[in-house]
Symmetry: C2
Subunit: 230 residues, 2 copies
DNA sequence: AAAAGTAATTATGAATTCAATATTAACCAG
DNA sequence: CTGGTTAATATTGAATTCATAATTACTTTT
């Protein structure tokens, strides 16, 4: 049962702006010019402004009344908070997955896992990360909780642009693989509590947060006052 | 440091539509007429349509391309999924609160708790619920995690309209109060793990889900095809 | 009378236009 | 020059207009 994908112009525009933010083509704190983006995308201001409103509720940009939109500045605290949340959601996904996962799904994830192990042994970090992502996504899907999946993917979106964990020490990597081994085992035993615990503690997040401490510039409060949607 | 409240027209409209949904003045599955709402609120279609887009990303309504907006149908599963998520978030809020709460905040919550106990002894359910809400909100605030607070309040919004847990047996009530006693104790001892556990298991959610089983009409799949934002 | 097809109506999607606010530039006094 | 005031410009906020798709009503046909 594949869902029909809704393609509104505003959604299209929102996604493309999201990409621009993710790839750093729109800088944090930088004012987003409506006119400029309209020309870039070849759309009028109406769908563009709708997209901005959506992106604001998704937490990617902020709207300052009468002063335009700007990309949210990712402070270290904000990223840390987001990761804390994601860890909790991953934990929940693990618990629920154990309750709802089918044998077929377990087989598929085991397969991904074995595949990932190969890349690990070949030191192919990029391929490893991709499989790693697919495994976590698979568990999330197996939770059969769509609200959870939606929330998680939103949070993931928000921090994507700093998610380039370049330096990964061998020790960290070894530990991550061990975690994954335990995860699969817990999943096959359908041990909710255990899998939940492993995923909550899985160092993937913690590692990234740790390395991020250096990456993120926590500079002077800002230009533009602190404003919040109400 | 009180934040400046942003009052855009679209946000205002979105909130008012949210109220209509919460109070059942817009029925689930019912098509939302733009023109009608424009007249009701005295605004043009532009801000109204912006509001609809925002409400869709907030999960309160669905937009069917070229076929308008309708209020999301709350199936039992959807509500159950949402409560599972909220329980996990409450658990996290408890853990974080223990780490970050100030003595002053603890005192304030203890005060709310004592106040709540009085209403409990006087069998004033309404006042009890209000204090109950304030306590949970206080813990959430004490977590000092704004992303968490934002997510929680969004989830809460989604299920508000079925949150009228009218029948509350004395046994349930007694247990809830005991839970709360334990919560406050854990908080004062700053026992993260314990408070997290209590909040995750707190029957408030489970109770409501249980009673809801009867309240929600899980009817025929629907008119209008299953469409999802992409 | 029922079904199918077509025209008329209505609603939505998006661009344009108008109004209000903020930003920049120009000007002047100290 | 520097600081402040006012005018000019540009940008955002919201209403209107135009275009397109869906729904309804009405024929027409069997």
């Amino acid at each position: 049962m594949t869902k029909i994908l809704q393609r509104n112009l505003y959604r299209e525009v929102a996604d493309r702006i999201g990409d621009l933010i993710e790839h750093g083509e729109l800088s944090p704190g930088e004012r987003i010019s409506e006119k400029q983006l309209c020309e870039k995308f070849g759309v009028s201001r109406t769908p563009l402004r709708e997209a901005l409103k959506v992106l604001a509720t998704e937490g990617l940009i902020e709207l300052l009344p009468n002063r335009g939109a700007r990309v949210v500045r990712l402070t270290f605290k904000k990223v840390k908070d987001t990761y804390d949340l994601m860890a909790a959601l991953e934990g929940l996904s693990g618990e629920l997955a154990c309750q709802h996962i089918t044998d077929k799904e377990i087989t598929a994830i085991r397969k991904l896992h074995n595949n990932m192990l190969e890349h690990y042994h070949q030191h192919d970090l990029k391929a490893y990360f991709e499989l790693n992502r697919q495994i976590h996504e698979g568990i999330l899907a197996a939770s059969k909780n769509e609200v959870l999946q939606e929330m998680y993917s939103n949070l993931s979106q928000r921090v994507k642009r700093v998610r380039y964990s370049k330096k990964m020490t061998q020790a960290f990597w070894d530990q991550a693989v061990k975690d994954h081994e335990n995860m699969i085992n817990a999943l096959e035993k359908r041990d909710s509590q255990l899998l939940g615990q492993i995923l909550r503690d899985h160092l993937c997040n913690k590692l990234e947060v740790a390395t991020l401490a250096g990456v993120i510039e926590d500079e002077a409060p800002d230009e533009g006052h602190s404003v919040v949607n109400a």
